[in-house]
């Protein structure tokens, strides 16, 4: 086959482009997960197949016990205290049984103690998260270890995830949050107006071998562990006590289990 100079250059050019670009495309396609890679992973990093929590509020006695966990989270994550419910940003908070479990609570005869007990609410890091399904830019995505992440730099602020989340776990920066941060933690980014944020399971702490801040500050009321490991502390509690999850009928499979009552069944 003979070939003139022009044809040779054409073929050479096309194969170069395919060689460079094509290779990248194929490598990109091979990756099935959305795991960000580091040059060398920190050996201290905590690893699991599916992170989850068990919340046992019987271990929380006073308002202070709750506030300690909330402050621990909001403090290190630069969550602003805007002071009005309309523009409010929160990652973890407390509320009554009826508001935490609204679909199971139409019962006026309910135990008074349970009725008055406060529960912790934060992102459920669902196994089938509705927020991830609806996000048009993959700004919210699920990691292979079960953490439902939020990329505040990719978020376009459409708030589809807020409409989709059945647990009201998401907040939107309706105004500049920075003036409302009491003491800025320079180790964690602050946010700008117009993006959605929520609990990200202290991914930055897991990466260096630390438990989520709320669990650490909770005095054992919030247990953290691998739901996929039958020997983990969380699985042992789930196996031995009566636990419920929020709105399980919606099929999102929340990763937070709440201990109700506190007495051992096993």
């Amino acid at each position: 086959m003979s070939m003139n100079r022009r044809q040779f250059l054409k073929i050479a050019g096309v194969s170069t482009v395919l060689g460079i670009g094509g290779g990248t495309v194929i490598t990109g396609l091979r990756k099935t997960g959305l795991e960000a890679s580091q040059v060398s992973p920190d050996p201290r990093a905590l690893k699991a197949k599916r992170w989850g929590f068990v919340v046992d509020v019987s271990k929380l006695k006073s308002d202070e016990d709750y506030q300690k966990c909330i402050d621990a989270c909001h403090g290190i994550h630069n969550v602003p205290d805007i002071g009005n419910p309309k523009d409010e940003v929160k990652w973890i908070w407390k509320d009554t049984y009826e508001r935490t479990f609204p679909t199971t609570s139409e019962d006026e005869l309910m135990n008074k103690e349970l009725k008055e007990k406060k529960f912790f609410l934060f992102c459920n890091h669902c196994a089938q998260p509705a927020c991830v399904r609806v996000c048009p830019t993959k700004a919210t995505f699920k990691r292979q270890d079960g953490v439902v992440m939020q990329d505040m730099h990719r978020c376009i602020g459409c708030r589809f995830c807020m409409a989709a989340c059945p647990f009201g776990a998401r907040s939107f920066n309706y105004r500049d949050p920075r003036p409302f941060i009491k003491k800025e933690n320079m180790q964690f980014p602050t946010r700008m107006i117009g993006v959605v944020e929520k609990c990200t399971m202290c991914y930055e702490r897991l990466a260096i071998g630390q438990q989520p801040a709320c669990a650490e500050a909770s005095n054992g009321a919030i247990l953290f562990g691998d739901l996929d490991d039958p020997n983990s502390a969380v699985r042992k509690v789930i196996a031995s006590k009566f636990t419920i999850r929020r709105k399980p009928e919606l099929g999102t499979q929340p990763s937070i289990y709440y201990v109700i009552g506190g007495a051992d069944h096993a």
Partner: protein
């Protein structure tokens, strides 16, 4: 053909001037919102979509309604729609542009809008909505412009337009179905989680859109020498009537399921909208206004004797349009957020700046519509008496 829009009467320029002034004021408010954030609106953590997204949803319906003229004319060869079909196509163009603008003003980070294209996410309904809306906009610009240009020269439009016209029929249905899927596939929002949502959307679109078209056609006849045709307007009137009955029927189905099943989560949003819930009832007067106007319009439309009187027809259409605007452009979105995910009530009401920005987007839509209709009317005036060849 655009040069036709550059010559016009004093009234034409005055109208464009008024619209531009409104747009200017709204733009200033938008810049305020851009720098302060969406906190300038009445939106909150609990009610995170409001007037903007409501208008978007409503206008997707208006855009889709062009198909109610395209089907009779192109698929059933209903010649009477020959002159009026261009009004439907151009209405679709301006409605889709308004939709895109409403999405834009609702975004927290509008400068990142290209992220939707850069990170295509097929599992997100919003991604598909973006695709079908852009496609529909292009289809209607191309079809409307090409057929009108051919009419002007008294020739048949090029052959390649026909497949596009046929494609625009299912495409119109798709834009409103996909928009309904934004809501109907969300777990935990009982008000939206209904299989008839897309059907309701289409029914309200096919009554509200053509109703607006009748009003516009009557205005065109009044202010230009182009007459869309009395019979055509009457035929559209019938379409409006049928579609509105379908719409009210579908709404009735929602009430039955919610209240006969007696499931609290299903009843609460309806109670909030029509009677008030836990002492909150800011939307109650609006929703009843909508209901009453729907009944009034149906009574006037269902009797052919009344409908044939164009004054009564116009009144019925205005009444129907306002009714649907309240129901779909406002109640439908807010109702989905109340009660919130904790069965509590946080109410919503648009703020002044939010309302002005909304008005501004409508003004942009009317500006585009006026220019396009001016072109269409001028061409029709030139070619008066000649038949349409497509």
């Amino acid at each position: 053909m655009l040069e036709k829009a550059l010559v016009g009467s004093k009234r034409y320029w005055l109208w464009l001037g008024v619209l531009t002034a409104i747009i200017g004021v709204a733009l200033i408010q938008y810049l305020r919102q851009y720098s302060y954030g969406l906190g300038l609106t009445g939106l909150s953590r609990d009610v995170s979509w409001g007037l903007y997204i409501g208008q978007f949803t409503f206008l997707v319906g208006v855009a889709a309604s062009a198909v109610m003229l395209v089907i009779p004319y192109y698929l059933h060869d209903f010649k009477k729609f020959g002159k009026i079909v261009i009004l439907g196509e151009f209405l679709a163009v301006s409605a889709v542009i308004m939709c895109i603008l409403f999405i834009f003003v609702d975004m927290g980070q509008p400068t990142r809008i290209m992220n939707v294209v850069l990170n295509p996410t097929p599992n997100s309904v919003m991604f598909w909505d973006f695709i079908v809306l852009s496609g529909y906009l292009i289809l209607n610009i191309v079809i409307g412009w090409t057929t009108l240009a051919a009419d002007r020269k008294g020739v048949r439009p090029p052959q390649w337009v026909k497949p596009l016209i046929y494609l625009s029929v299912p495409w119109a249905v798709s834009i409103h179905t996909v928009t309904a899927f934004l809501y109907a596939g969300i777990p935990g929002r009982h008000f939206w989680l209904t299989a008839v949502m897309a059907a309701r959307f289409l029914a309200s679109a096919f009554s509200g859109g053509p109703a607006l078209l009748i009003i516009l056609a009557l205005l065109v006849r009044r202010f230009t020498k182009f007459d869309p045709g009395q019979e055509a307007i009457q035929a559209v009137g019938k379409i409006v009537t049928y579609a509105m009955f379908a719409n009210v029927f579908l709404l009735g189905l929602e009430f039955f399921t919610a209240f006969y099943s007696n499931i609290p989560g299903h009843m609460h949003p309806f109670k909030y909208l029509y009677t008030g819930l836990e002492g909150h009832g800011r939307l109650v007067p609006l929703m009843w206004t909508s209901s009453i106007m729907a009944v009034v319009s149906l009574v006037l439309l269902v009797f052919p004797g009344l409908r044939r009187n164009e004054k009564i027809l116009a009144f019925a259409c205005i009444s129907l349009f306002i009714s649907l605007w309240i129901d779909k452009g406002f109640g439908l979105i807010i109702g989905g957020f109340i009660p919130n995910m904790f069965e509590g009530v946080t109410e919503y009401w648009p703020t002044g700046p939010e309302s002005i920005i909304t008005l501004g987007v409508w003004a942009v839509g009317f500006l585009i519509l006026t220019v396009l209709y001016k072109v269409a009317a001028s061409v029709r005036e030139e070619t008066a008496g000649m038949p349409e060849n497509h």
